[in-house]
Symmetry: C2
Subunit: 224 residues, 2 copies
């Protein structure tokens, strides 16, 4: 009964966090792709009755919900290749940044779901967030947020490393200009050169097509 299952959606950065963590730990799991946004499975609704959202990790029949909570769980159950530092203070710093990005994660959806003034606002807020990361989070010439090895913060920030660049292709204002964010830019290169990450990124063209289609649907439903 120690079976591990993950209910996810291929293009979701929240699912991707869990996939990266499981792969970094070398945990075998069964992946169940949900048909979003309209055909959620009965099992997903049963496992996550409060939010009705992916990702859900099911371990030995018990559901663990919310990607950051799942990362903490994975790190406790499979402690090798740790996602959190050992030191309590360093752990608090990692949790601070994971929470920080979590509270800004609606911005990436706002960027591709809106246009005009509303989108400009989201772009401005996203840019300011990147400035904070550049100035406060990636200091001291570190390869990753935690130092020499990937940790929970790098995983939590996956939408900054990949999703933003896809959304920028079609959604309007250019936010990430590498010369403005040299530390973040190096971090993205470092992250994407890690085999587990590189081999487990969603296909960019497929993601572009999906997000474009969702954006058109959303903008059409707004104007109708």
């Amino acid at each position: 009964m120690d079976e591990v299952k993950l209910f996810g959606f291929w293009a979701s950065p929240f699912s991707r966090r869990v996939i990266w963590a499981l792969k970094l730990k070398g945990v075998e799991y069964e992946y169940i792709e949900e048909d979003l946004p309209y055909n959620k499975s009965d099992l997903l609704l049963q496992y996550n009755p409060v939010h009705k959202k992916i990702p859900v990790l099911v371990h030995g029949g018990k559901p663990i919900v919310e990607s950051l909570v799942i990362l903490e769980y994975i790190d406790e159950v499979w402690p090798h290749n740790p996602l959190l530092p050992k030191d309590a203070y360093e752990r608090s710093v990692a949790r601070f940044w994971a929470k920080f990005i979590e509270e800004k994660s609606h911005l990436i959806a706002k960027l591709y779901r809106t246009d005009g003034e509303e989108q400009q606002e989201a772009a401005k807020e996203y840019f300011e967030m990147l400035e904070v990361l550049e100035e406060h989070a990636l200091i001291g010439g570190k390869k990753f947020f935690g130092g020499d090895e990937i940790n929970m913060v790098d995983i939590a920030f996956c939408s900054v490393a990949h999703w933003l660049r896809v959304v920028e292709v079609f959604a309007g204002p250019k936010i990430f200009e590498p010369h403005k964010f040299p530390r973040l830019n190096s971090w993205i290169q470092n992250l994407k050169s890690v085999p587990v990450i590189k081999d487990n990124l969603p296909d960019t063209d497929k993601m572009l097509a999906l997000l474009k289609r969702w954006r058109e649907m959303l903008l059409a439903s707004k104007s109708s």
Copy 2:
């Protein structure tokens, strides 16, 4: 250098979480009251440059920021009287609910800062949140969220136990009707009968006066 200091504000539920946790653990600390909202100390801004907010716990000269992150830190550094269960799955359930209430915590501020339709919306959302807690979080006749002892979830929910009732006195719609939320109502009684909690609640009349004054200021600045 193992000195513990807490930068807080007496009426803040976020400060109160940390105070309760420190008192439950029996940790000695120096409390520094911030003069909010306009006269934040230089030390606070230095310790929390990203959010510029209380609470900040300073331990051995190092700042720990964000009340839920502070609770995790306190539980790791002073493991007696645990705030999180031992079992990894139970820990994930506790973290799920702490995150849930965290993401709804803006509602209590919205209730006392708004009126009319905007306030009605906040009230509706708050009511729906209480329904979720009643239905999903407090099941199985438990005394507290985690069982027989107070844990992180009870502490995280402090605004439901106390702040909501104060705001209801003057801010408009009555949200918490005990007969609609029998489990939550028992939980509030149980929580407030724990000596550490009962002896460390902010004064209701003083809080009422402060929140009323803030509300009037905010509504006046909106209409001007």
